[in-house]
């Protein structure tokens, strides 16, 4: 029996993974103002690399390879595709990312086929019991890893020159260029960072209780879209809050599925989008989206 506490804890863990994905999404949007629809395919690429390598080189090196690989794929997409369209309308670029997504996802799903590939994580199906609450080790690992990564990212964003350049470019790319910020580098690093974060998210989307990496994994990744959008596309805080909100909502909807059968099945997949629509009705810019900050 799952209790409310369990549902909430699982939701938080799941939400922190969504937050990782949404954060990458937001980073690309802030650096380049492009909505990256290819994000799910970056995630799939990272997961696939980890899944195919872990038998030969062990889990941790494989995970690192997955992160590096997804970062490289992200950087390659920026360098080979997005860069050629720089200066084009941002909605054109967004559509280009849909094309990239279709290409990458098609190739990856062809390779994965109908298999369900485990990623060889060390946590297995172990469960931690604290009184009435039982929690899978994988969920705890997911939460800890997400918190550490997000924390490191936010610190870098706030205190390093890279972060200053990113934020300056996000506010005004032209002014940033006038200050000597290399916009090409900013955009390249944004795609690489987003790829790396997505690869970590891929791991935690495919560990217990999920059987492993499969074609549908990229669909699970899509739930980070409502997370990023309801948080406000250009806000890192928004990505975190949005991720957690989506995770908890999904967890609640799935956990209380049996009480909600009159609404039909599969509510857990639908709930994040309902929350997104509800929030956008009240706050069209998302929870933390840019409000003009100006002195009158």
């Amino acid at each position: 029996m799952s209790t409310l506490a369990e549902i909430l804890l699982n939701g938080l863990s799941l939400g922190s993974v969504y937050a990782l994905i949404a954060l990458g999404f937001v980073v690309i949007f802030r650096a380049t103002e492009v909505v990256n629809f290819a994000h799910a395919s970056l995630l799939l690429a990272g997961g696939y690399i980890t899944a195919t390598l872990h038998d030969d080189i062990g889990f941790w090196p494989a995970l690192l390879a997955g992160i590096a690989g997804a970062a490289l794929v992200g950087a390659a997409v920026e360098f080979l595709v997005m860069r050629r369209y720089r200066g084009s309308d941002h909605s054109v670029l967004a559509i280009v990312t849909i094309g990239v997504d279709i290409l990458l996802t098609t190739e990856l799903t062809r390779r994965i086929g109908t298999d369900v590939i485990p990623l060889g994580d060390p946590w297995g199906d172990a469960v931690l019991r604290l009184g009435p609450v039982s929690l899978a080790h994988t969920r705890i690992a997911a939460f800890v890893a997400a918190v550490l990564l997000i924390g490191a990212f936010l610190l870098a964003f706030r205190y390093t020159s890279w972060g200053v350049a990113m934020r300056a470019a996000a506010e005004s790319s032209e002014t940033a260029a006038l200050m000597g910020v290399r916009l090409g580098r900013v955009s390249l690093s944004a795609w690489a960072v987003a790829g790396g974060l997505a690869a970590v998210a891929a791991l935690f989307l495919t560990v217990f209780p999920t059987p492993g990496l499969e074609r549908a994994t990229s669909l699970a990744a899509l739930k980070a879209f409502p997370a990023a959008i309801l948080g406000g596309l250009d806000s890192t805080t928004g990505a975190l809050v949005g991720g957690l909100l989506v995770g908890v909502t999904e967890s609640l909807a799935t956990g209380y599925q049996s009480d909600l059968t009159f609404l039909g099945r599969g509510l857990g997949d639908l709930a994040p989008y309902l929350v997104m629509v509800a929030i956008l009705l009240i706050r069209p810019a998302g929870l933390f989206g840019t409000k003009e900050l100006a002195r009158v």
Binding site: A177, L178, G180, L183, L293, A294
Partner: protein, 269 residues
């Protein structure tokens, strides 16, 4: 002239089919303050964009001529390399990074400069604008207009430029604040930075500059030493009519009724 002067020669710029600059040549000798005067749409900002290589953000391109700093050609470089070469711009309308703190704005300005120069640059900037040190942790968007202009100038100085390009620094500022900015420009110049000042406030600009160019519909129509231009009828009539204190004083001497009349005549021309 000077070995590291900024030279613009025969520069033509177009935004698609629209020609914004036509064979503009001008020179900012080392250590000088040079001003470019002109009304709205004369091509002043276009000139600065061409120097800083940010025309592409506006769909513009250089069609002929070029820009040199000393012996170095700037007209094939990306914007960040122009900054690294020693030319920084304070864009029109200040354009501070409103959501970032004052300190981070200054850091952003230093991204284009050399690493060892940063601490010294920050010290210099805080000396010029002590208020920026006081407000280091505040968001730039919450500063007053004058403070934002100071921040914009300070940010550009963080890269340690040899030539500072200023686009309408007095725009939208109270006269007192505009005068303070003018004093600052003088001080920056005294510390060895050449200045190319683009202004609509001709009286202010001509007092600061040693040499002036008048830009009209994309062409240089007048140029010469600033004091000569300030004395020329043409410039007085066109650009000093409304804002020049001397002209106002002249008018006052001539009596109240005459003053209104001369000022309006100047404005209409």
């Amino acid at each position: 002239m000077g070995g590291s002067g900024l030279v613009v020669h025969d520069l033509s710029v177009g935004y698609g089919p629209v020609r914004a600059l036509r064979r503009v040549s001008l020179e900012v000798p080392e250590g000088a303050v040079v001003t470019v005067l002109g009304g709205n749409g004369a091509g002043k900002s276009t000139l600065l964009r061409a120097i800083s290589r940010t025309l592409s953000f506006h769909g513009g391109a250089v069609t002929e001529g070029g820009v040199r700093l000393g012996d170095r050609r700037l007209d094939a470089l990306p914007p960040d390399r122009v900054v690294a070469a020693g030319v920084s711009q304070v864009p029109e309308g200040r354009r501070v990074f409103a959501r970032m703190t004052v300190a981070d704005n200054l850091r952003a300005g230093a991204l284009g400069g050399t690493r060892p120069g940063r601490a010294a640059a920050l010290e210099r900037v805080h000396e010029l604008f002590p208020v920026l040190a006081e407000r280091a942790g505040q968001r730039a968007g919450l500063l007053s207009g004058g403070e934002q202009q100071m921040l914009a100038v300070a940010r550009a100085l963080m890269a340690g430029p040899k030539v500072l390009l200023l686009d309408e620094p007095s725009l939208g500022l109270a006269p007192l604040m505009a005068r303070r900015i003018a004093d600052t420009v003088r001080e920056i110049n005294a510390q060895g930075t050449s200045v190319l000042l683009v202004e609509q406030n001709a009286a202010l600009a001509l007092r600061l500059a040693t040499r002036a160019y008048v830009l009209e519909v994309g062409e240089v129509t007048l140029s010469g030493p600033a004091d000569e231009l300030a004395a020329s009828d043409e410039v007085r009539r066109r650009y000093l009519g409304v804002v020049d204190e001397d002209a106002v004083a002249d008018g006052e001497q001539a009596g109240g009724a005459r003053r209104t009349l001369t000022r309006w005549q100047g404005g209409d021309a």
